[in-house]
């Protein structure tokens, strides 16, 4: 199972607590994980990436295994540790403040 960690506001919007666990067929990529996430929680459509084209929203970042995957190709394979569920895939709202 793929483990996905959402920012607090999106957990509230999707009515979930803690991590989301998703069954995603291989190959596991950022696109396939987000597709599965949006299929399970359609209210998240448009809040992480655009409705069409899948472009990441400007203040959203994707992390995993201590790596920033935000600028990776959406169809590139995710790290094996994410595929096996050893590590979560993090959807992060950019920090803002002074």
């Amino acid at each position: 199972m793929i483990r996905v960690v959402l920012p607090a506001h999106l957990r509230t919007l999707a009515h979930v607590d803690g991590e989301v666990k998703l069954q995603v067929d291989a190959p596991v990529t950022q696109r396939s994980v987000l597709d599965a996430l949006e299929a399970r929680y359609p209210m998240l459509c448009g809040t992480i990436r655009d409705h069409d084209g899948g472009r990441r929203r400007a203040f959203i970042r994707f992390f995993a295994c201590e790596l920033d995957l935000s600028h990776e190709q959406p169809d590139a394979p995710l790290p094996e540790a994410v595929v096996t569920g050893a590590e979560p895939y993090l959807v992060v709202g950019a920090m803002a403040g002074g």
Binding site: T12, T47, H51, R57
Partner: protein, 371 residues
């Protein structure tokens, strides 16, 4: 006994304020959607238990929420706002062409006769319609694609379509207002539009009486007299008696004619309310005194309403969608401030009291009168 429900949108969530017809004791619930900007919350005239809310965030974009139980519980509905045709460009602040980009929904206007029909005014300026309770949205592109569109420019808050008025007598007539393009009217249910800005004069644009380019802040109509509209323009309070074909100024003796909201008494079509603000560079009331001004003559002659409002050290603003009236026998008037106060008057403005004092900055106030 009748009661009222006040729907408040703020910078950090929505609040629902309930009272009976006396309007002296309030039950406050919220924040709903805590942490999100709630530009507008409005109930369906066809089914007052059905509410729509515009929820948005710089991080997560636009969400539309719907309640079918008067605001106790909510569910997200459709949030896909796609321009129907090639978006094209409008003017940017520096005068260069800028692509039309959806930013957020400023205003939701549920239709009077159908609980599933609701209009949305968005930034960058466009008008959308849903006929399935907000699940899906389709643009009425005739407004955005008006021949003057490439020359429209954003106001300081963005190029927003902030006012939608559905004519209660002529179902195919819609009024809309855009900052800073002006007022528009459709007589064919939103398919085609014409600017209705004749009579407006705006300093600060190259042609002061241009067909478009005016920073209209708000329009208001009394349903019993839909040919008459009132306008709070950036500067100037205006009135039309012919559905926008011509406007004349009714600022009269106001201490300043800059401001944002304008509204009409529920039972007296000639009684109107504004909140004068010092200037566009001082977004606070003159002399630090928060005063609503009321005209009982459809403009020109105005009286300050001060009882219960702070008359010293008050430097809040009242935004364009943050005033509303109820329709009880003694008309109630409500407004919210950027300081987080929501004031209510149960006697048409003669006296005021705060319902709440310390909410986040108030973006919108709507009222439902319930039986």
């Amino acid at each position: 006994m009748s009661r009222v429900r006040v729907l408040v949108g703020t910078r950090k969530g929505a609040f629902v304020l309930n009272a009976d017809g006396k309007r002296d004791r309030w039950d406050v619930s919220g924040p709903f959607f805590a942490g999100w900007e709630i530009y507008h919350v409005k109930g369906s005239p066809a089914d007052p238990a059905r509410l729509f809310a515009s929820q948005s965030s710089g991080w997560f974009g636009q969400v539309i929420q719907r309640s079918d139980d008067g605001g106790a519980t909510w569910e997200p509905v459709g949030n896909k706002f796609e321009y129907a045709t090639e978006p094209g460009t409008h003017q940017w602040y520096d005068g260069t062409p800028h692509p039309w980009e959806f930013a957020r929904v400023w205003h939701l206007e549920p239709a009077p006769g159908d609980r599933d029909t609701v209009y949305a005014g968005v930034e960058d300026a466009g008008l959308f319609k849903s006929t399935d309770g907000g699940q899906s949205w389709a643009e009425l592109p005739g407004l955005r694609t008006h021949k003057s569109g490439p020359g429209w420019a954003p106001g300081a808050g963005g190029m927003c379509l902030h006012t939608i008025i559905l004519d209660p007598v002529r179902p195919d007539r819609i009024f809309a207002a855009i900052s800073a393009a002006g007022a528009f009217r459709s007589d064919d249910a939103g398919q085609t539009w014409q600017p209705v800005n004749r009579g407006l004069h705006s300093e600060g644009i190259p042609d002061e009486d241009a067909e478009v380019g005016h920073c209209v802040h708000r329009l208001a109509m009394h349903p019993a007299r839909p040919e008459v509209l009132y306008m709070q323009k950036h500067w100037d309070v205006m009135r039309t008696d012919d559905a926008g074909d011509s406007w004349h100024e009714v600022s009269g003796n106001l201490p300043t004619d800059f401001g944002f909201p304008i509204d009409v008494h529920a039972h007296e079509p000639d009684t109107i309310y504004v909140v004068p603000i010092t200037s566009d560079s001082h977004h606070f009331p003159p002399e630090g005194k928060l005063r609503v001004y009321r005209s009982r003559t459809g403009g020109d002659d105005w009286e300050p309403l001060t009882r219960g409002l702070p008359q010293e050290h008050c430097y809040v603003n009242v935004l364009r969608d943050a005033m509303a009236v109820d329709s009880l026998d003694e008309c109630g008037v409500y407004f919210g401030t950027t300081g987080g106060q929501v004031y209510a008057s149960a006697d048409a403005g003669d006296t005021w009291a705060p319902i709440v004092r310390d909410l986040p900055a108030v973006l919108s106030v709507e009222v439902q009168t319930l039986s």
